[in-house]
Symmetry: C2
Subunit: 282 residues, 2 copies
């Protein structure tokens, strides 16, 4: 049980984290820090936070500090936070990339009060309005460089995520970024590109609107995701994403070649191979 | 109300159609025709059909004949069926491509007893076990060349689909195939290719299994789809799919270029454009 939780960023992830902890009685008081007044007001109005404070005041008052902001602003913000935290406070981030942040904080004197985490949950929506009480459950939460966090901090953070219904997976930061490129970042790129394909080529949008069924919606829904969140992720994880993206383009070219050559056998082989994904996702 | 419904193909679509009509009391007796004994037995066991008959007997006994088999076998099967139906029977197909079939049957003496339809519903599963009573509802059903069907046949088929909760969209067969390439076929290709990408590159399948969240699952779930259904669709709609696939590869290349050049502004532009899909899918 924490007395004061400060969420830095009152959007989808920070907002949901706050709501989930309040819902379960894991925190007494929640403080929001937001870049915009509008988002701050909305978070208050929705009961996501009990008060809004500037960053420094919020950090000083909190025993648990949860950072959930776009990954490009995470590093400078985290440096500010770490410079003022005591050896009793706990700082957690929820970013979708881990290597750059862990490297930036590697030699900080308060490094051991920081727990690097990535709860593998999200939706295509953003802002305080997107926060939900049913977040996180049933998903994995990656914790990186656990050996660099103090035992009490690590255990407290793991307990919270487990209370939210998550299972913990440990990885080093570089491995996290590789796996994240596969299981999350590439899906967003293909979805954005698919949306652009349809918007470019399909002049009769009414037809899509009328016809689009479950298949189209499920492959394209991520294309609604917030660019302010995703541009920095793609830039920070550029090398890994390019590696996966090149492979993906070459896989698509195989489908193209099989169609151009009317090679049904090759097409069958490609699809049968893809079906093996059944052993990974239920 | 029909006395005898014959479903040619007792899988996902035919099976669901039969279950839905039985559920709503729209048919008295259902007859299954299946290529394999195993599938036939399963359809009987699951109560999808009341009896199994060979094609010719089933067609002769039925007042409504519903054809839901892979599109490559649809044309020869439909020709056999149309050769024996009377001017009182109604034949409907549910195929995902329409141009080749409509062309093949254009000059058949019984053409007017045929209604060319494509209910825009499906899942990544197949076979009688995949059939569900909750199918079709809320989705579009395309009817092609309605002017070539007798009024009584067209109205009866439209009434059934509406009773199942679908809304009817009219199109000519060529237009259907173009739109289907956008709203359905390309999603399946990107999903198959994404599965192949991950299976090729990610050697730690356990990591995917543990980490994969909602985003990955939704973009890759279609990769579980049945090749026996999809190879013939891709082959029949080759020209339209190649057109969309080429555009899709070029859209992915834009993401690649923006990352290679570390051009965050261009990346932002690409994603903001993709966000416009919000005006099409809710």
């Amino acid at each position: 049980m924490f007395n004061n939780l400060a969420i830095i960023g009152t959007g989808l992830i920070g907002g949901s984290f706050s709501l989930c902890l309040k819902e379960r009685g894991l925190v007494k008081h929640t403080i929001g820090v937001s870049r915009t007044q509008k988002s701050a007001n909305k978070a208050l109005e929705l009961g996501i936070v009990d008060e809004i404070l500037p960053l420094e005041e919020a950090v000083k008052k909190a025993d648990l500090i949860y950072v959930a902001i776009p990954v490009d602003v995470t590093i400078p913000t985290m440096e500010k936070i770490m410079d003022i935290v005591t050896d009793k406070q706990i700082v957690v981030d929820a970013g979708s990339t881990k290597y750059a942040l862990c490297s930036a904080l590697a030699n900080h004197t308060r490094r051991s009060r920081f727990v690097a985490s990535h709860p593998m949950w999200g939706t295509e929506y953003s802002g305080p309005e997107a926060a939900v009480r049913e977040a996180f459950t049933g998903r994995a939460c990656v914790i990186c460089e656990k050996e660099k966090s103090d035992k009490d901090a690590l255990e407290a953070v793991e307990k919270i995520y487990r209370d939210l219904g998550m299972h913990i997976v440990y990885m080093d930061a570089a491995a996290h970024d590789i796996h994240a490129a596969y299981v999350s970042h590439i899906s967003h790129i293909t979805s954005f590109a698919l949306a652009n394909t349809v918007l470019e080529k399909e002049k009769e949008e009414d037809a899509i609107f009328e016809l689009a069924g479950g298949g189209f919606e499920s492959t394209v829904r991520l294309a609604k995701s917030n660019p302010a969140m995703w541009v920095p992720i793609f830039m920070q994880n550029k090398e890994n994403i390019l590696d996966v993206l090149n492979e993906h383009i070459s896989q698509l070219r195989k489908f193209k070649a099989s169609l151009e050559k009317e090679n049904a056998e090759y097409l069958l082989e490609l699809i049968e191979n893809a079906n093996k994904i059944r052993r990974i996702i239920k």
